[in-house]
Amino acid sequence: MRKLAIFALVLVGGLIGAATVWTVVRPGALTGTSRVVDATTQVINRGEYLARAGDCIACHTAPGGTPFAGGRAMPTPFGNLYASNITPDDETGIGRWTPDDFYRMMQKGISRDGSLLYPAMPFASYTKVTREDCDAIYAYLMSVPPVRQKNRPHELRFPFNKRELLIGWRTLYFKEGEYVPDPKQSAQWNRGAYLVEGLGHCSMCHTAINRLGGTSEAQAFEGGMIPNQNWYAPSLTSNPEGGLGNWSVKDIADLLQVGVSHRATVYGPMAEVTYNSLQYLTDEDATAMAVYLKSLAPRDAPPAVTSTERLTQPAVLEMGRKIYVQQCVMCHGNEGKGYPPAYPPLAANPSITMATPVNPIRMVLNGGYPPGTRKNPRPHGMPPFLHILSDDEVAAVVTYIRVAWGNAGAPVSPAQVNELRKLLPE
């Protein structure tokens, strides 16, 4: 706590210092009479930055809608939830909320009217956000244009439409409390942990979600299928499946903030996170998150793929190799090394060899563009092959890239491809 306080002091001190310097050097500024970046502006600016780190906009904005006005459908295994209007409209938004109301919602997952929030709102992560940061986010949200738009009622199946059930969920899966810095770790590590576990709410996707929609702390950051999106969120721990242990801090930070790196590229739901949220982080914060993520200890990693599981029919492998040579070599190279960061490597890329082959199959079927970000505004893209390759051919080429060049993945079946072919890309 003390470290954090010192950190906050340093941060505030730095901001005041920067403001002073700016006032002095600003052309035409009259010392004493000019408007410096006043305290309110500083708080709102910081709130905007933190709201981006929390990616509020992604869920609280309907496609093509006004930012923060809500209405976006959130499909869950229990039915559709609709994100609420968090613009400061008095009638339909949070215009009448106080900072205390807002803090209670972030900290405890309880709305202004006392109702329990569904955990699609990541209050299990946001509970770690400090009071000061919550107040800044509140100040920012109060400063955006109010939009009059009634919240759309959720469409949850019985019994999940009974909010009383949430008491049970909370007992099982919710631990309230602000982030407590680890005094044995550096300020940078603690800042990273604060962002990853708090506003970043990474565990919402990167920890397996069980049938009750809960995440187990024992499995934190070990990876899991994202319900209703059918992408696999890989492990963030150092396990060999897809962990970050042997990555450089720079590559992890780049992946988060830039969307591409020398090790891998973000697509699908993570592209959205980078596009809406992580690209706006400072280099310092992106690096802090990377330092923390790299340090996550390996957990019980899945057993290595056995040689029996890796057995591949020579004819399948040959079909896969031929397709690879024809369609993939241009961008990913003969040795699967790619041309990073433009085209990602496939050799030694854990996203290719993960036990769950959903991501490589989807990439071959649907292609993808990394997000266009401030540091990579013109990303290179991969085309879809679903109309060119049959299920057998996709299975063969994905099998090939999972076992070639020393990759230790298992073959995939045409049936697995067929399942994913039926889904709409998203």
Partner: protein
């Protein structure tokens, strides 16, 4: 005399070329389709390399591929292509594979992609034309060249250009598009699944077209040859018969 001979010779060469190409098309349609669709580029740091994500459907230069749906995008006005990319990104034009691909691309980059394809001038992809009787083809030609004043349909050429190569900045070229694609778009417009910026002139027209009209125009269009100048017309040559939001 010399010119006429040269013309005859070039007609003969064209016909021969068409026969040879046609034979190849029959023999290996998949190979032809695949050539344009196989990723290839010269320099990594180029637009050509960046738009490889488009190639398996739209071809290396935006000429289209063997698939009978994906449209030719080469040479369409940049303003039109940009409007479509933005509409796909924001979910206002719905086609899931496109919505997914461009979901997280910023305006400036979409503009650059649009300008890249607007500059391309690849030859037409040879494709099968749909069967149609003479009356239907006459109707298609009439709609294209003179419209149908009785039901308030202006000629296609009055906005899409004398050679149907489009008009700057926002009206697409039609010549070279596949009949399935053209028919599907007109139907989507008619039922309200596709829309352009208000005032949506195309909506007014599509609402007046019958299924038979749409089929007639698509079949006639598929029989048109590539014009010598594939560039869209400039925007200030003609007064448009209907107000059109895409031209503002």
């Amino acid at each position: 005399m010399a010119r006429a001979a040269k013309n005859r010779l070039s007609h003969f060469a064209c016909a021969l070329g068409a026969v040879v190409a046609g034979a190849w098309l029959v023999a290996a349609p998949r190979a032809l389709a695949q050539d344009a669709a196989i990723p290839a580029f010269k320099t990594l740091d180029s637009m050509e390399a960046r738009v490889q994500g488009c190639t398996t459907c739209h071809g290396q230069s935006g000429q289209g591929t063997g698939n009978d749906y994906f449209p030719r995008i080469a040479g369409k006005p940049a303003g039109y292509l940009y409007n479509q990319l933005v509409a796909f990104r924001d979910g206002k034009r719905r086609y899931a594979p496109m919505n997914y691909l461009v979901a997280y691309l910023p305006d400036a980059y979409l503009r650059e992609i649009a300008e890249h394809y607007a500059k391309q001038r690849p030859p037409f992809v040879l494709h099968e034309s749909v069967p149609a009787d003479a009356a239907s083809l006459d109707r298609g030609q009439a709609l294209a060249r003179t419209g149908d004043p009785k039901i308030g349909i202006p000629a296609c050429v009055s906005c899409h250009g004398a050679n149907l190569t489009g008009m700057e900045p926002g009206i697409p070229g039609l010549v070279g598009l596949r009949p399935n694609y053209v028919a599907a778009q007109l139907v989507r417009w008619r039922v309200g699944e596709r829309a352009a910026a208000d005032p949506d002139c195309m909506k007014r027209i599509a609402a007046r077209l019958t299924d038979a009209d749409i089929a007639a125009f698509a079949a006639w269009l598929a029989r048109q040859k590539q014009p010598a100048d594939a560039a869209p017309e400039s925007s200030n040559l003609v007064r448009m018969p209907l107000a059109c939001g895409s031209q503002r």
